[in-house]
Protein backbone atom coordinates (compact mmCIF):
# COMPACT_ATOMS: atom_id res chain seq x y z
CA UNK A 1 0.00 0.00 0.00
CA UNK A 2 1.36 3.41 -1.04
CA UNK A 3 0.51 6.77 0.50
CA UNK A 4 -0.62 7.89 -2.97
CA UNK A 5 -3.23 5.12 -3.20
CA UNK A 6 -6.88 6.13 -3.16
CA UNK A 7 -8.93 3.91 -0.84
CA UNK A 8 -12.56 3.14 -1.67
CA UNK A 9 -15.25 1.26 0.23
CA UNK A 10 -15.75 -2.14 -1.36
CA UNK A 11 -18.80 -2.67 -3.57
CA UNK A 12 -21.88 -3.19 -1.42
CA UNK A 13 -20.44 -1.60 1.74
CA UNK A 14 -22.20 1.41 3.20
CA UNK A 15 -21.07 3.70 5.99
CA UNK A 16 -23.76 5.38 8.06
CA UNK A 17 -24.75 6.71 11.46
CA UNK A 18 -27.12 4.41 13.39
CA UNK A 19 -28.94 6.21 16.21
CA UNK A 20 -30.01 2.89 17.82
CA UNK A 21 -26.35 1.85 18.12
CA UNK A 22 -25.21 5.37 18.99
CA UNK A 23 -22.37 4.66 16.55
CA UNK A 24 -21.30 4.75 12.97
CA UNK A 25 -21.60 1.37 11.27
CA UNK A 26 -20.63 -0.40 8.09
CA UNK A 27 -23.49 -2.21 6.44
CA UNK A 28 -22.92 -4.94 3.86
CA UNK A 29 -24.81 -7.94 2.49
CA UNK A 30 -26.65 -9.45 5.46
CA UNK A 31 -24.33 -7.92 8.06
CA UNK A 32 -23.33 -4.91 10.08
CA UNK A 33 -20.17 -3.87 11.85
CA UNK A 34 -20.37 -1.29 14.62
CA UNK A 35 -17.36 1.02 14.33
CA UNK A 36 -15.22 2.58 17.02
CA UNK A 37 -14.96 6.36 16.97
CA UNK A 38 -11.44 6.26 15.60
CA UNK A 39 -12.38 3.81 12.81
CA UNK A 40 -15.36 5.99 11.94
CA UNK A 41 -13.15 9.12 11.85
CA UNK A 42 -10.98 7.46 9.20
CA UNK A 43 -13.76 5.87 7.12
CA UNK A 44 -15.65 9.16 7.07
CA UNK A 45 -12.81 10.64 5.02
CA UNK A 46 -12.80 7.92 2.39
CA UNK A 47 -14.51 9.60 -0.54
CA UNK A 48 -13.07 7.84 -3.55
CA UNK A 49 -10.81 10.79 -4.53
CA UNK A 50 -8.55 11.50 -1.54
CA UNK A 51 -5.29 9.59 -1.22
CA UNK A 52 -4.10 7.98 2.00
CA UNK A 53 -1.66 10.91 2.31
CA UNK A 54 -4.49 13.43 2.09
CA UNK A 55 -6.58 11.50 4.61
CA UNK A 56 -3.67 11.50 7.06
CA UNK A 57 -3.21 15.25 6.54
CA UNK A 58 -6.90 15.96 7.21
CA UNK A 59 -6.83 13.86 10.37
CA UNK A 60 -3.65 15.54 11.59
CA UNK A 61 -5.30 18.91 11.21
CA UNK A 62 -8.26 17.65 13.26
CA UNK A 63 -6.17 15.97 15.96
CA UNK A 64 -2.87 17.93 15.95
CA UNK A 65 -1.50 16.35 19.13
CA UNK A 66 -1.59 12.77 17.79
CA UNK A 67 0.77 10.93 15.45
CA UNK A 68 -1.73 9.15 13.26
CA UNK A 69 0.10 8.08 10.13
CA UNK A 70 0.89 4.55 11.26
CA UNK A 71 -2.61 4.06 12.76
CA UNK A 72 -4.21 5.03 9.47
CA UNK A 73 -1.97 2.71 7.46
CA UNK A 74 -2.58 -0.19 9.88
CA UNK A 75 -6.31 0.40 9.74
CA UNK A 76 -6.32 0.50 5.93
CA UNK A 77 -4.27 -2.69 5.75
CA UNK A 78 -6.59 -4.64 8.05
CA UNK A 79 -9.68 -3.25 6.34
CA UNK A 80 -8.39 -4.35 2.94
CA UNK A 81 -7.70 -7.82 4.31
CA UNK A 82 -11.24 -7.92 5.75
CA UNK A 83 -12.59 -6.95 2.35
CA UNK A 84 -14.27 -3.65 3.32
CA UNK A 85 -11.80 -1.50 1.43
CA UNK A 86 -10.07 -1.54 -1.92
CA UNK A 87 -7.07 0.55 -2.81
Amino acid sequence: MESTDVPKLANGYRFQWEPAQNSHVLLYPEGMKVLSESAAAIIELINGTDTIEQIVATLEKKFPEADLRQDVIDFMTTSCAEGWLNV
Binding site: N11, R14, Q16, E18, A20, E30, G83
Partner: protein
Protein backbone atom coordinates in the same frame (compact mmCIF):
# COMPACT_ATOMS: atom_id res chain seq x y z
CA UNK B 1 -38.11 -1.58 28.79
CA UNK B 2 -34.46 -0.63 28.63
CA UNK B 3 -33.03 -4.16 28.81
CA UNK B 4 -34.41 -5.11 25.38
CA UNK B 5 -31.88 -4.83 22.51
CA UNK B 6 -32.78 -3.08 19.30
CA UNK B 7 -33.78 -5.56 16.58
CA UNK B 8 -31.05 -5.48 13.97
CA UNK B 9 -32.80 -7.57 11.34
CA UNK B 10 -36.27 -7.39 9.89
CA UNK B 11 -37.19 -10.18 7.51
CA UNK B 12 -40.24 -9.34 5.42
CA UNK B 13 -41.75 -12.46 3.90
CA UNK B 14 -43.76 -10.67 1.27
CA UNK B 15 -45.63 -13.64 -0.13
CA UNK B 16 -45.84 -17.42 0.07
CA UNK B 17 -46.39 -17.63 -3.68
CA UNK B 18 -43.46 -19.27 -5.41
CA UNK B 19 -43.06 -20.89 -8.83
CA UNK B 20 -40.54 -23.38 -7.42
CA UNK B 21 -41.20 -26.44 -5.25
CA UNK B 22 -38.04 -27.04 -3.23
CA UNK B 23 -38.55 -30.00 -0.90
CA UNK B 24 -36.34 -28.29 1.73
CA UNK B 25 -38.30 -25.03 1.79
CA UNK B 26 -38.49 -23.54 5.27
CA UNK B 27 -41.98 -22.14 4.73
CA UNK B 28 -44.66 -23.77 6.89
CA UNK B 29 -46.10 -26.92 5.31
CA UNK B 30 -49.60 -25.47 5.67
CA UNK B 31 -48.66 -22.18 3.92
CA UNK B 32 -51.58 -22.60 1.50
CA UNK B 33 -54.03 -21.96 4.34
CA UNK B 34 -53.05 -18.27 4.49
CA UNK B 35 -52.18 -17.33 0.90
CA UNK B 36 -55.40 -15.34 0.55
CA UNK B 37 -54.48 -12.83 3.27
CA UNK B 38 -51.40 -10.95 2.09
CA UNK B 39 -50.55 -7.55 3.56
CA UNK B 40 -50.89 -4.66 1.14
CA UNK B 41 -48.27 -2.05 0.23
CA UNK B 42 -49.37 0.46 2.90
CA UNK B 43 -49.14 -2.14 5.66
CA UNK B 44 -45.62 -3.00 4.64
CA UNK B 45 -44.55 0.61 4.48
CA UNK B 46 -45.83 1.24 8.01
CA UNK B 47 -44.12 -1.93 9.28
CA UNK B 48 -40.83 -0.87 7.71
CA UNK B 49 -41.06 2.60 9.22
CA UNK B 50 -41.85 1.33 12.71
CA UNK B 51 -39.14 -1.33 12.70
CA UNK B 52 -36.60 1.21 11.46
CA UNK B 53 -37.54 3.49 14.37
CA UNK B 54 -36.83 0.58 16.70
CA UNK B 55 -33.34 0.30 15.21
CA UNK B 56 -33.61 -2.37 12.50
CA UNK B 57 -30.86 -1.71 9.93
CA UNK B 58 -30.88 -4.83 7.77
CA UNK B 59 -34.00 -5.65 5.79
CA UNK B 60 -34.46 -9.01 4.10
CA UNK B 61 -37.14 -9.25 1.43
CA UNK B 62 -38.06 -12.86 0.90
CA UNK B 63 -40.99 -15.23 0.64
CA UNK B 64 -41.97 -17.44 -1.14
CA UNK B 65 -40.67 -15.60 -4.16
CA UNK B 66 -40.70 -11.84 -3.43
CA UNK B 67 -40.44 -10.92 -7.11
CA UNK B 68 -44.05 -12.12 -7.46
CA UNK B 69 -45.09 -8.91 -5.65
CA UNK B 70 -45.76 -6.21 -8.23
CA UNK B 71 -45.11 -3.53 -5.57
CA UNK B 72 -41.62 -4.81 -4.75
CA UNK B 73 -39.95 -1.74 -6.27
CA UNK B 74 -42.20 0.58 -4.21
CA UNK B 75 -41.34 -1.31 -1.02
CA UNK B 76 -37.62 -1.24 -1.83
CA UNK B 77 -37.68 2.50 -2.59
CA UNK B 78 -39.39 3.21 0.72
CA UNK B 79 -36.95 0.98 2.64
CA UNK B 80 -34.03 2.72 0.97
CA UNK B 81 -35.40 6.14 1.96
CA UNK B 82 -35.70 4.96 5.56
CA UNK B 83 -32.00 4.03 5.63
CA UNK B 84 -32.22 0.24 5.58
CA UNK B 85 -29.61 -1.94 3.96
CA UNK B 86 -31.91 -3.87 1.66
CA UNK B 87 -31.32 -7.52 0.73
CA UNK B 88 -33.47 -9.32 -1.83
CA UNK B 89 -33.58 -13.08 -1.44
CA UNK B 90 -34.81 -14.58 -4.68
CA UNK B 91 -34.76 -17.71 -6.80
CA UNK B 92 -34.48 -15.47 -9.87
CA UNK B 93 -37.62 -17.00 -11.35
CA UNK B 94 -40.17 -14.44 -12.44
CA UNK B 95 -37.38 -11.86 -12.59
CA UNK B 96 -36.37 -10.04 -15.77
CA UNK B 97 -33.33 -7.94 -16.61
CA UNK B 98 -35.63 -4.88 -16.59
CA UNK B 99 -36.77 -5.56 -13.06
CA UNK B 100 -33.19 -6.04 -11.88
CA UNK B 101 -32.39 -2.59 -13.30
CA UNK B 102 -35.56 -1.12 -11.77
CA UNK B 103 -34.63 -2.51 -8.36
CA UNK B 104 -31.20 -0.93 -8.66
CA UNK B 105 -32.84 2.37 -9.39
CA UNK B 106 -35.16 1.95 -6.40
CA UNK B 107 -32.08 1.69 -4.16
CA UNK B 108 -31.80 -2.06 -3.55
CA UNK B 109 -28.39 -2.86 -2.02
CA UNK B 110 -27.85 -6.56 -2.57
CA UNK B 111 -29.33 -9.61 -4.24
CA UNK B 112 -29.04 -13.20 -3.11
CA UNK B 113 -29.87 -15.68 -5.85
CA UNK B 114 -30.57 -19.25 -4.83
CA UNK B 115 -29.63 -22.22 -6.98
CA UNK B 116 -30.77 -25.76 -6.35
CA UNK B 117 -27.66 -27.38 -7.85
CA UNK B 118 -24.79 -26.71 -10.24
CA UNK B 119 -26.20 -28.78 -13.08
CA UNK B 120 -29.30 -28.03 -15.04
CA UNK B 121 -30.76 -31.50 -14.65
CA UNK B 122 -30.47 -31.73 -10.87
CA UNK B 123 -31.39 -28.08 -10.36
CA UNK B 124 -34.59 -28.47 -12.32
CA UNK B 125 -35.55 -31.71 -10.62
CA UNK B 126 -35.13 -30.27 -7.12
CA UNK B 127 -36.83 -27.00 -8.03
CA UNK B 128 -39.67 -28.88 -9.68
CA UNK B 129 -39.40 -26.56 -12.72
CA UNK B 130 -37.11 -25.82 -15.67
CA UNK B 131 -35.36 -22.90 -14.08
CA UNK B 132 -31.60 -23.33 -14.39
CA UNK B 133 -30.94 -21.38 -17.60
CA UNK B 134 -33.03 -18.45 -16.44
CA UNK B 135 -31.20 -18.38 -13.11
CA UNK B 136 -27.86 -18.13 -14.92
CA UNK B 137 -29.20 -15.26 -16.96
CA UNK B 138 -30.49 -13.46 -13.88
CA UNK B 139 -27.22 -13.94 -11.99
CA UNK B 140 -25.47 -12.25 -14.91
CA UNK B 141 -28.01 -9.40 -14.86
CA UNK B 142 -27.42 -8.94 -11.12
CA UNK B 143 -23.69 -8.53 -11.73
CA UNK B 144 -24.21 -6.35 -14.80
CA UNK B 145 -26.18 -3.91 -12.64
CA UNK B 146 -23.34 -3.62 -10.15
CA UNK B 147 -25.01 -5.40 -7.24
CA UNK B 148 -22.94 -7.39 -4.79
CA UNK B 149 -24.16 -10.95 -5.34
CA UNK B 150 -24.51 -13.86 -2.96
CA UNK B 151 -25.22 -17.21 -4.55
CA UNK B 152 -26.95 -19.51 -2.14
CA UNK B 153 -26.97 -23.27 -2.48
CA UNK B 154 -28.95 -25.27 0.05
CA UNK B 155 -27.11 -28.56 0.28
CA UNK B 156 -28.44 -32.02 1.06
CA UNK B 157 -27.87 -35.62 0.12
CA UNK B 158 -28.69 -35.12 -3.58
CA UNK B 159 -26.37 -32.18 -4.35
CA UNK B 160 -23.68 -32.11 -1.69
CA UNK B 161 -21.34 -34.25 -3.78
CA UNK B 162 -21.24 -31.41 -6.32
CA UNK B 163 -19.47 -28.90 -4.08
CA UNK B 164 -16.51 -28.59 -6.47
CA UNK B 165 -18.84 -27.88 -9.39
CA UNK B 166 -20.86 -25.46 -7.28
CA UNK B 167 -17.77 -23.45 -6.38
CA UNK B 168 -16.66 -23.50 -9.99
CA UNK B 169 -20.07 -22.23 -11.15
CA UNK B 170 -20.04 -19.48 -8.51
CA UNK B 171 -16.59 -18.40 -9.64
CA UNK B 172 -17.70 -18.33 -13.25
CA UNK B 173 -20.71 -16.17 -12.36
CA UNK B 174 -18.40 -13.82 -10.41
CA UNK B 175 -20.27 -14.21 -7.14
CA UNK B 176 -18.98 -12.02 -4.33
CA UNK B 177 -20.08 -14.58 -1.78
CA UNK B 178 -21.23 -18.14 -2.05
CA UNK B 179 -23.30 -19.61 0.71
CA UNK B 180 -23.36 -23.36 1.14
CA UNK B 181 -26.14 -23.85 3.61
CA UNK B 182 -26.70 -27.37 4.80
CA UNK B 183 -30.43 -28.00 5.00
CA UNK B 184 -31.91 -27.18 8.38
CA UNK B 185 -34.86 -29.37 9.22
CA UNK B 186 -37.81 -27.01 9.45
CA UNK B 187 -40.99 -26.75 7.42
CA UNK B 188 -40.83 -28.93 4.31
CA UNK B 189 -37.28 -30.02 5.10
CA UNK B 190 -38.51 -31.59 8.33
CA UNK B 191 -41.02 -33.86 6.60
CA UNK B 192 -38.35 -34.75 4.00
CA UNK B 193 -35.56 -35.09 6.54
CA UNK B 194 -34.97 -38.83 6.15
CA UNK B 195 -34.14 -38.42 2.47
CA UNK B 196 -32.40 -35.03 2.56
CA UNK B 197 -29.90 -35.70 5.31
CA UNK B 198 -26.41 -36.30 3.95
CA UNK B 199 -24.16 -38.95 5.41
CA UNK B 200 -21.20 -38.08 7.59
CA UNK B 201 -18.89 -39.20 4.74
CA UNK B 202 -20.58 -36.84 2.31
CA UNK B 203 -20.16 -33.96 4.75
CA UNK B 204 -16.52 -34.70 5.30
CA UNK B 205 -15.73 -34.76 1.60
CA UNK B 206 -17.69 -31.53 1.07
CA UNK B 207 -15.72 -29.85 3.83
CA UNK B 208 -12.47 -31.09 2.30
CA UNK B 209 -13.49 -29.57 -1.07
CA UNK B 210 -14.22 -26.22 0.59
CA UNK B 211 -10.88 -26.21 2.42
CA UNK B 212 -9.03 -27.09 -0.76
CA UNK B 213 -10.81 -24.39 -2.72
CA UNK B 214 -10.03 -21.79 -0.04
CA UNK B 215 -6.36 -22.77 -0.02
CA UNK B 216 -6.06 -22.62 -3.79
CA UNK B 217 -7.86 -19.30 -4.10
CA UNK B 218 -6.43 -17.34 -1.19
CA UNK B 219 -6.42 -13.99 -2.95
CA UNK B 220 -9.66 -14.52 -4.74
CA UNK B 221 -12.35 -12.07 -3.70
CA UNK B 222 -15.14 -14.67 -3.46
CA UNK B 223 -15.95 -15.50 0.14
CA UNK B 224 -17.50 -18.81 1.13
CA UNK B 225 -20.01 -19.07 3.95
CA UNK B 226 -20.46 -22.61 5.03
CA UNK B 227 -23.40 -23.33 7.31
CA UNK B 228 -22.73 -26.55 9.18
CA UNK B 229 -25.44 -29.12 9.75
CA UNK B 230 -26.20 -29.09 13.44
CA UNK B 231 -27.45 -32.70 13.70
CA UNK B 232 -23.85 -33.82 13.28
CA UNK B 233 -22.47 -31.42 15.90
CA UNK B 234 -22.55 -31.87 19.66
CA UNK B 235 -23.54 -28.29 20.47
CA UNK B 236 -26.60 -26.54 19.06
CA UNK B 237 -26.48 -23.39 16.96
CA UNK B 238 -27.02 -20.08 18.79
CA UNK B 239 -30.42 -19.85 17.14
CA UNK B 240 -31.19 -16.24 16.07
CA UNK B 241 -28.56 -15.13 18.64
CA UNK B 242 -31.31 -15.67 21.17
CA UNK B 243 -35.07 -15.33 20.99
CA UNK B 244 -36.22 -11.74 20.48
CA UNK B 245 -32.63 -10.53 20.58
CA UNK B 246 -31.74 -9.27 17.09
CA UNK B 247 -34.21 -10.70 14.63
CA UNK B 248 -37.85 -10.34 13.77
CA UNK B 249 -39.85 -11.70 10.90
CA UNK B 250 -43.22 -10.71 9.48
CA UNK B 251 -45.08 -13.36 7.49
CA UNK B 252 -47.16 -12.58 4.38
CA UNK B 253 -50.34 -12.23 6.48
CA UNK B 254 -48.69 -9.94 9.06
CA UNK B 255 -47.89 -12.41 11.84
CA UNK B 256 -44.74 -11.29 13.68
CA UNK B 257 -42.35 -14.07 14.68
CA UNK B 258 -38.96 -14.26 16.42
CA UNK B 259 -37.78 -16.92 13.93
CA UNK B 260 -38.82 -18.62 10.69
CA UNK B 261 -40.75 -21.51 12.10
CA UNK B 262 -41.97 -20.26 15.50
CA UNK B 263 -45.59 -20.21 14.41
CA UNK B 264 -45.83 -23.96 15.03
CA UNK B 265 -45.04 -23.58 18.76
CA UNK B 266 -48.10 -24.35 20.86
CA UNK B 267 -49.54 -22.04 23.49
CA UNK B 268 -48.06 -18.82 22.09
CA UNK B 269 -50.24 -16.20 20.50
CA UNK B 270 -48.14 -14.38 17.92
CA UNK B 271 -49.16 -10.76 17.39
CA UNK B 272 -50.18 -9.44 13.98
CA UNK B 273 -48.47 -6.33 12.64
CA UNK B 274 -51.74 -5.27 11.02
CA UNK B 275 -53.22 -4.29 14.37
CA UNK B 276 -50.21 -4.00 16.73
CA UNK B 277 -47.28 -1.61 16.45
CA UNK B 278 -43.83 -3.06 15.87
CA UNK B 279 -42.68 -1.42 19.08
CA UNK B 280 -45.38 -3.14 21.15
CA UNK B 281 -44.65 -6.43 19.43
CA UNK B 282 -40.91 -6.22 20.02
CA UNK B 283 -40.87 -4.76 23.51
CA UNK B 284 -44.04 -5.93 25.18
CA UNK B 285 -45.71 -8.90 23.47
CA UNK B 286 -45.80 -12.14 25.44
CA UNK B 287 -44.64 -13.98 22.33
CA UNK B 288 -41.37 -12.03 22.04
CA UNK B 289 -40.80 -12.19 25.82
CA UNK B 290 -41.45 -15.92 26.01
CA UNK B 291 -37.88 -17.23 25.58
CA UNK B 292 -35.98 -13.97 25.87
CA UNK B 293 -32.97 -14.06 28.17
CA UNK B 294 -32.29 -17.07 30.38
CA UNK B 295 -35.07 -17.26 32.98
CA UNK B 296 -37.23 -19.66 30.96
CA UNK B 297 -34.50 -22.30 30.82
CA UNK B 298 -34.70 -25.76 32.32
CA UNK B 299 -31.79 -27.98 33.27
CA UNK B 300 -29.26 -28.76 31.91
CA UNK B 301 -29.20 -25.31 30.22
CA UNK B 302 -30.18 -23.31 33.32
CA UNK B 303 -26.93 -23.99 35.18
CA UNK B 304 -24.74 -24.50 32.10
CA UNK B 305 -21.68 -22.31 31.60
CA UNK B 306 -22.28 -22.22 27.82
CA UNK B 307 -25.77 -20.77 27.88
CA UNK B 308 -24.62 -17.30 26.85
CA UNK B 309 -22.92 -18.80 23.84
CA UNK B 310 -25.75 -20.85 22.35
CA UNK B 311 -28.85 -19.68 24.27
CA UNK B 312 -29.85 -23.33 24.70
CA UNK B 313 -30.18 -23.79 20.93
CA UNK B 314 -33.34 -23.67 18.86
CA UNK B 315 -36.83 -23.61 20.43
CA UNK B 316 -38.46 -25.01 17.31
CA UNK B 317 -36.01 -27.88 17.08
CA UNK B 318 -36.57 -28.62 20.78
CA UNK B 319 -40.32 -28.66 20.19
CA UNK B 320 -40.25 -30.68 16.97
CA UNK B 321 -38.04 -33.38 18.44
CA UNK B 322 -39.09 -33.52 22.11
CA UNK B 323 -42.55 -31.95 22.16
CA UNK B 324 -41.36 -29.33 24.69
CA UNK B 325 -40.34 -25.93 23.31
CA UNK B 326 -38.49 -25.04 26.54
CA UNK B 327 -36.33 -28.16 26.52
CA UNK B 328 -32.60 -28.11 25.76
CA UNK B 329 -32.08 -28.37 22.01
CA UNK B 330 -31.56 -32.15 21.63
CA UNK B 331 -28.56 -31.57 19.34
CA UNK B 332 -26.62 -30.79 22.53
CA UNK B 333 -24.89 -33.86 23.92
CA UNK B 334 -25.77 -32.67 27.42
CA UNK B 335 -29.46 -33.02 26.55
CA UNK B 336 -31.16 -36.13 27.92
CA UNK B 337 -32.81 -36.33 24.46
CA UNK B 338 -29.70 -36.42 22.26
CA UNK B 339 -30.65 -40.01 21.35
CA UNK B 340 -33.54 -38.57 19.29
CA UNK B 341 -31.09 -36.80 16.99
CA UNK B 342 -28.94 -39.92 16.70
CA UNK B 343 -32.04 -41.96 15.90
CA UNK B 344 -32.92 -39.48 13.14
CA UNK B 345 -29.43 -39.84 11.67
CA UNK B 346 -29.76 -43.63 11.75
CA UNK B 347 -33.25 -43.52 10.25
CA UNK B 348 -32.03 -41.33 7.40
CA UNK B 349 -29.14 -43.67 6.68
CA UNK B 350 -31.59 -46.49 5.89
CA UNK B 351 -34.10 -44.39 3.93
CA UNK B 352 -33.80 -43.54 0.24
CA UNK B 353 -35.95 -41.46 -2.04
CA UNK B 354 -37.17 -44.69 -3.58
CA UNK B 355 -38.49 -45.99 -0.28
CA UNK B 356 -39.79 -42.56 0.80
CA UNK B 357 -40.43 -40.15 -2.09
CA UNK B 358 -39.68 -36.46 -1.54
CA UNK B 359 -42.70 -34.28 -0.86
CA UNK B 360 -42.37 -31.18 -3.04
CA UNK B 361 -43.42 -27.78 -1.72
CA UNK B 362 -46.52 -26.75 -3.63
CA UNK B 363 -50.07 -25.70 -2.89
CA UNK B 364 -51.50 -29.11 -3.70
CA UNK B 365 -49.24 -30.90 -1.22
CA UNK B 366 -49.73 -28.12 1.31
CA UNK B 367 -53.50 -28.49 1.20
CA UNK B 368 -53.16 -32.21 1.71
CA UNK B 369 -51.05 -31.46 4.71
CA UNK B 370 -53.35 -29.18 6.60
CA UNK B 371 -56.48 -31.15 5.79
CA UNK B 372 -54.69 -34.23 7.14
CA UNK B 373 -53.61 -32.53 10.34
CA UNK B 374 -56.95 -30.90 11.07
CA UNK B 375 -58.70 -34.27 11.11
Amino acid sequence: MSDVNAPLWLLAELTYKCPLQCPYCSNPVDFASTTGAELDTDHWIRILREARELGAAQLGLSGGEPIVRKDLEIIVAEAHKLGYYTNLITSGIGMSADRVAGLKEAGLDHIQVSFQASSSELNNWIAGTDSFEHKLEMARAVKANGFPMVLCFVTHRENIDQVDDILELATRLEADYVELATTQYYGWAFINRDVLMPTRDQLESAEACITRFRDENKNDAMKIFYVVPDYFENRPKPCMSGWGSLFMLVTPDGTALPCHSARQLPGIEFPNAKDTSMSDIWKHSDAFQKFRGFDWMQEPCRSCSEKEKDFGGCRCQAFMLTGDAAATDPVCDKSPNRHLVDAAITQSSITTKDTKPLVFRNAKNSKKFFVDTSN
